[in-house]
Amino acid sequence: MRSNRFRFLTQSLAKTLIWAAALSTIAVMILILLQILVEGLPDLRFSFFFESPKSMGREGGILTTIIGTVALTLVAIIVATPLGVGTAIFLREYTRESRISRVIRFGTDCLAGVPSIIFGLFGFVFFVIFLNMGWSILSGGLTLAAMILPTIICTTEEAIKTIPYSYREVSYSLGGTKWQTVTRAVLPSALPGIFTGIILSVGRSIGETAAIILTAGSSLVMPTSLFSPIRTMAVHFYILAREGISMEMAYRTGATLILIVLFVNTIANFLLNRYIRHRI
């Protein structure tokens, strides 16, 4: 048995180290964000968001990239939400733990772990080439939908899980069918949770780059249809930063990106903690 003094010495040492580690980690993370915000924020004007890029991005704003980001995210959400919610409903309401549910969960978990470059390769060879959609909002959006599907399934499932069985009991006792129970008793209460999943996915989509470049192209021109190629903010930031076309613009775009991501995710986390009681 070690002496008391030694034990408490170890404790103090460990405590100091841990405090140091934690604080320095947080400090570095904040520094990373600050560096871009400090360079980019002061010059931000409202016009930045409403003007299109001019002269390869050296002047003007980032309007087309904002539109591109929004369009892509919308397509992804429209496609992924019904699929995700449907899957969650099926898993929670229509089956017990069985072969099928295990297979589905395995598929979902694996899908969640696939790196974005693989999604990019897939989206390229499947949507752009095989289905002949070309580099387009559609190709990018559908690829993105595949990427956010696991998140929507997961959060919807958690949301449905928190709904007490009594809701369903009441509906059944009133003579409701399963589907009626689901759509009238379960889903409406699960809506906030579903919404949270959507917001979380939006947060992820905004930062996505590798898969988007390979599927949505990098055109700066205002898109005219779902089949137009488009550049998102994250891609624009990457290209500006790499090409060294305009560091100013890069910093501004980066600052915008950070702010939007922080904003969206703060809302998502707030909703998460409020409507889905255990953390995911």
Binding site: K54, S55, M56, I78, V79, T81, P82, L131, N132, M133, G134, W135, S136, L138, L142, Q180, T183, R184, L187, P188, G217, S218, S219, L220, V221, T224, S225, L226, F227, S228, P229, R242, E243, G244, I245
Partner: protein, 291 residues
Amino acid sequence: MDRQIQNSKLKIQNLGILVFLLMLSLILGSGGCQRSKAGITVAGSTSVEPFAELLAEEYMIRNPHSHIYVQGGGSTAGIEAVRSHAANIGMSSRSLMGTEKSLYAVTIAKDAIAIIIHPRNPVEDLSLEKVREVFSGRIRNWKEIGGQDHPIILVTREEGSGTREAFQKLVMGEEEISLEALVQDSNGAIRQVVSGDPNAIGYISLGLVNEKVKALRISGVEPNVKNIESGRYHLVRPFLFVFNGEPTGEAKAFLDFVICPEAQELLCKEGLISILSTSSEGKVGSQRKGY
């Protein structure tokens, strides 16, 4: 209360049907639908891309109802895209090779490759052989070529890049670029690396050289417009627009704009060499098949 449940159920059902139909139409519509957007696609070399984008911007200002979509992908991919009709115009930063020669190519500008180093690097001039020895890894220290005692950091473009292929052909010949070289995926990125590292050496489009990097003289010849036009500086490659057959319609209109004096002047301002020059090689739009 009942009415409300009824209403919301109806809404969910309707929404569900709507979404389902939407997805259905998306999938159905996409299968047969050839990218039905108006306008033309210009795809290919990332070296040509920024200039094509600039030209497209100017063109669309003058012709507000047209749409020109420019994207990268590399010279080879662009040529392939034109061949398979996936794009209307292909951009290439190298001459056509092999079976590609059956396509219709027009030189829209000439671009020189500049060997760049950090501004503070004392070296000013290298012969072509020395450049080759440096990039193949045989010369490894700056002091061997008049610089400071420090290992040389090579920077190159990635395999498949038209710029790299041009560099390979014009400078390296049969020799391989050292496998130790850093690889960056754009001219701008190479410029960035070289501008930040006093011991780096790389190559980029002459048009992209700015005050952050220094372009070397090759055997005493300064890379500038005069020397390029006179042929003394010969690290030069053509920027091509490639078509599948004679250009027609919007593609032709864009091409005509690109080779007109106004557009050429724009390109010159950006650092390219106009085809409207008095050089022996350049004629106004070398419109020969199988360039």
